[in-house]
Symmetry: C2
Subunit: 522 residues, 2 copies
């Protein structure tokens, strides 16, 4: 028996936080947000939800590909964002797709796109459905005759491994653990582990420019893509497998981050990593985030390329019960499939110490944080019915602007929490990825909200934080993607003429404009 995914939250039905994890969460809510658990309702049941009748019927030729089965329509209504979860718990599935496509292969995908283009039906590619930015909700407006969510789950194989080049041809709908399992017998690994790893897909990673395992150097999935194959309404677009090329602008770089708006990524040749045989880890404490940042910058500019170089600030460490808020923690790690990493770690540790880092004896802190990090997505199905607002956003900025940026973004978020909820709430920060020219910052905010006004309250906080980070020179997203939620700030960030060029490219690939409308274009 295959397990069913929850249509209202993270993971499979039956999975969730353990009792100790729940206890910690409830204690956090009570102590830090100053709110006791409120009356909370059970998650939605399929039988409680009345779905609108499909506005379009599958054509006969696609009867085996398209379904109007209610569970499938529910599962494909939402990603995993805060407002989506609130609406799911409110039993609001107004934007459910009319139909769900589960194509078995590329030609069925092409057939769906053909039909959708001629019938003016919106098509929303769906990988793991882990979008936290409204990337998969069929909120496409009334100019379409209907909406289809196109699930890539049947394209779930590692087709071919090239051990000489350390590359593999992999279908887009495969999830993280299945990739790892298929590569392991060959001695390789993907070494790309976003928080969503268990329930996200290769195609989703590429379409959203996912950020993964490595904190430096190869932070985005982009650098692991050797070539791409995409089905667009205008036909197949496949790039040549090449280790490098200077032949015009990169075709792959147009598809990376296209979020389903140009076509359906169906396959990629991916660069693989050897399985790590040598590792070294260390954790350092600093009085605050900016002190840790100076050490991080020194390591990031030293050409050492640690696999981990992350910081959690005092608030984040305290929230996750890693310490009692007294330190920001810098987690440093090296890994190699080829050589002992002692000299690398020695120099990086020296740089961190030179910048005031206090080395911890035990590495528990990093491990404890890591487990909490992976289990986080399960928390929302508990916090939403408690009326707690809890979300994250992320950005990146150059080092010269870091302190000004963080100061105004944090202040704007805190002010907005109070304005929206009357409660100061909690804001915490980490560095998820680090470049020689600046860090990627990740913010988590929480406050007790008004159960009747959660989305409105959330929207005020989200908009205030986004306004602040764009004004302070950051990006609206480092690795969560744009989706529908970030469009206003994406339009501010991107050069207007690039928007025009992208819209023109879309018209060439998707003449009927059916691919994930409202995302990226216009």
């Amino acid at each position: 028996m295959t397990r069913r995914l929850k249509f209202y939250g993270w993971g499979f039905e039956g999975d969730g936080l353990s009792e100790p994890e729940r206890d910690h969460l409830f204690r956090f809510v009570a102590e830090k947000l100053g709110a006791g658990p409120r009356p909370s309702g059970p998650p939605p049941q399929e039988s409680e939800i009345v779905l609108r009748a499909p506005r379009v019927a599958p054509p006969a030729a696609l009867a085996g590909v398209l379904t109007a089965e209610p569970y499938e329509r529910l599962l494909h209504t939402y990603g995993k964002s805060f407002p989506e979860t609130v609406r799911a718990f409110a039993r609001d599935f107004a934007n459910a797709p009319d139909l769900v496509a589960v194509p078995a292969n590329e030609s069925e995908i092409a057939a769906v796109l053909d039909w959708a283009s001629s019938a003016k039906v919106a098509v929303i590619p769906f990988g793991g459905g882990s979008s936290v930015v409204g990337g998969v909700e069929p909120a496409v407006g009334d100019s379409y005759s209907g909406a289809v969510s196109l699930d890539l789950r049947a394209l779930n194989r590692v087709i071919e491994v090239d051990p000489a080049s350390r590359a593999a041809r992999i279908q887009a709908g495969i999830r993280g653990p299945a990739i790892e399992a298929a590569l392991k017998p060959h001695g390789f690994a993907i070494r790309h582990y976003p928080q969503s790893f268990e329930h996200s897909t290769l195609g989703g990673w590429i379409a959203t420019r996912s950020g993964g395992h490595f904190a430096t150097l190869t932070t985005h999935i982009d650098d692991f893509v050797e070539s791409l194959r995409t089905v667009t309404p205008a036909g197949i677009l496949e790039s040549r497998r090449l280790p490098g090329s200077g032949a015009g602008p990169s075709p792959d770089r147009l598809m990376m981050g296209s979020e389903g708006s140009l076509g359906v990524i169906v396959e990629a040749w991916m660069r693989l990593q050897g399985r790590p045989r040598f590792r070294a880890d260390a954790v350092f404490g600093f009085p605050d985030l900016f002190a840790a940042a100076r050490a991080v910058r020194a390591v990031a500019q030293a050409g050492l390329y640690p696999s981990n170089l992350r910081v959690i600030d005092n608030d984040e460490a305290g929230t996750y019960a890693v310490n009692a808020y007294e330190e920001s923690l810098l987690v440093l790690a090296f890994e190699s499939s080829d050589h002992p990493v002692g000299p690398w770690m020695a120099r990086a540790a020296e740089l961190v110490s030179d910048h005031g880092g206090r080395r911890h004896d035990a590495e528990d802190a990093g491990q404890r944080w890591r487990m909490a990090f992976i289990r986080m997505p399960y928390a929302r199905e508990l916090t939403v019915p408690m009326g707690v607002i809890n979300d994250t956003f992320e950005s990146a900025v150059t080092w010269d602007r870091l302190e000004a940026f963080h100061t105004v973004v944090r202040a704007a978020t805190e002010a907005a929490l109070t304005e929206a909820t009357g409660n100061a709430g909690v804001v915490s920060t980490r560095f998820t990825h680090v470049y020689p020219d600046g860090p990627a910052l990740y913010y988590t905010f929480s406050a007790p909200g008004d159960p009747a006004r959660l989305i409105e309250q959330w929207r005020h906080i989200k908009a205030s934080a986004s306004d602040a980070l764009i004004a302070a020179g950051g990006t609206i997203t480092h690795h969560h993607a744009v989706g529908r939620d970030h469009m206003p700030w994406y339009r501010e960030q991107r050069p207007a003429l690039f928007g025009a060029a992208l819209a023109a490219a879309k018209r060439a690939l998707d003449p009927a404009g059916v691919m994930n409308p409202g995302v990226l274009v216009p």
Copy 2:
């Protein structure tokens, strides 16, 4: 007094090979190509050339920006390719630009593009003019009322240095040595040294996706670009300075490699490097290229990131008088501004030795080759009047296909040399850059030709080699760019639908289609 550039060859008037360098070259031609020096003529003089009268006149508002001065028109007729040099020596300047623009600033560039768009005049951005692929020749056909070469030389400053982020805002028209001079007082360097370094520009590097100093990791200029500012006929396109972003497809990656076809890159924020304080070098010998390739692959996949990891095959080593053709040489180097590189070099050297490399005591070989490499571009003004065909081409391919690729490409090139010239000629090969999934290969071919048919003979060889490398799965160019010469094979290589998307993007940015017509689009 400023020195004048040669309009028919490499470098400044008066510069060229030394007597010993000439002797070596003549000996190579005599001994290896089986041809004694033929009667050779002197280089063309300005006074010998009759230029067509300009087909367009500068509008009054641009009188100070546009010139019809004959030397300027000659200088902007050609890049530095073999067939262009042949035509220059034949006093053929039929495609000279009607006018040359030397704008002092961005608004003058915008004014030139406005005028050109309304008057249907082709505009060809010109940096250092070092294109070897026909990228700057105003061969634009009769559908334009004229052609302007737009020289960026007045935009030649490093405007701003951000030491915290290790980045600098640099104008596009500045040449390599001036960038280095401006960064040196700040303790930084660009660490991007294409062979053309002395006579090429930052904007040219970005527009052509130049390959530079580093043999691994950051091989292309692409990875050093933090943000770009481009003047297009439709207006200014400027990306935000960001260390990383996942907000949609990268705007910068559309402009990188656009070869002047979408607009004029005027400025970039570039990521800088610390000046190297620690270095280590080693040279290893192998019986042949494939033996060296196995060692290179091991190092490239070990996560060590040497600054140099290049191979010259037996023929290349012999041609450059580095040895007597008995070995292929692998040149390995590490550099760091932060730490001694001993452990890095020790592990890489161990891998090379494990794969059969014989370490040389002296490092002369690498140095000798490097000097010859930098001086090479001066040779053509001697070989062309001798009737010698001499050119290079480059590609990249994944490791799994390397041996098959190299075997057929080399054989096709050798066969074509004989077919075209009746002489076996000489073909040599090197690896210029190396990726975990494959090497970039660089071929040099030479043969004595028929002075009356040099271009026709060259074209047969070039076409045969290009056909072979595209059929064998390579790229038509790793870092020389596409220009006009590579268009037939670029069209085969790029996904057809990407071509359509690029053409659509161009229509959005360059509605009148005046930017470098014939290059990349359609």
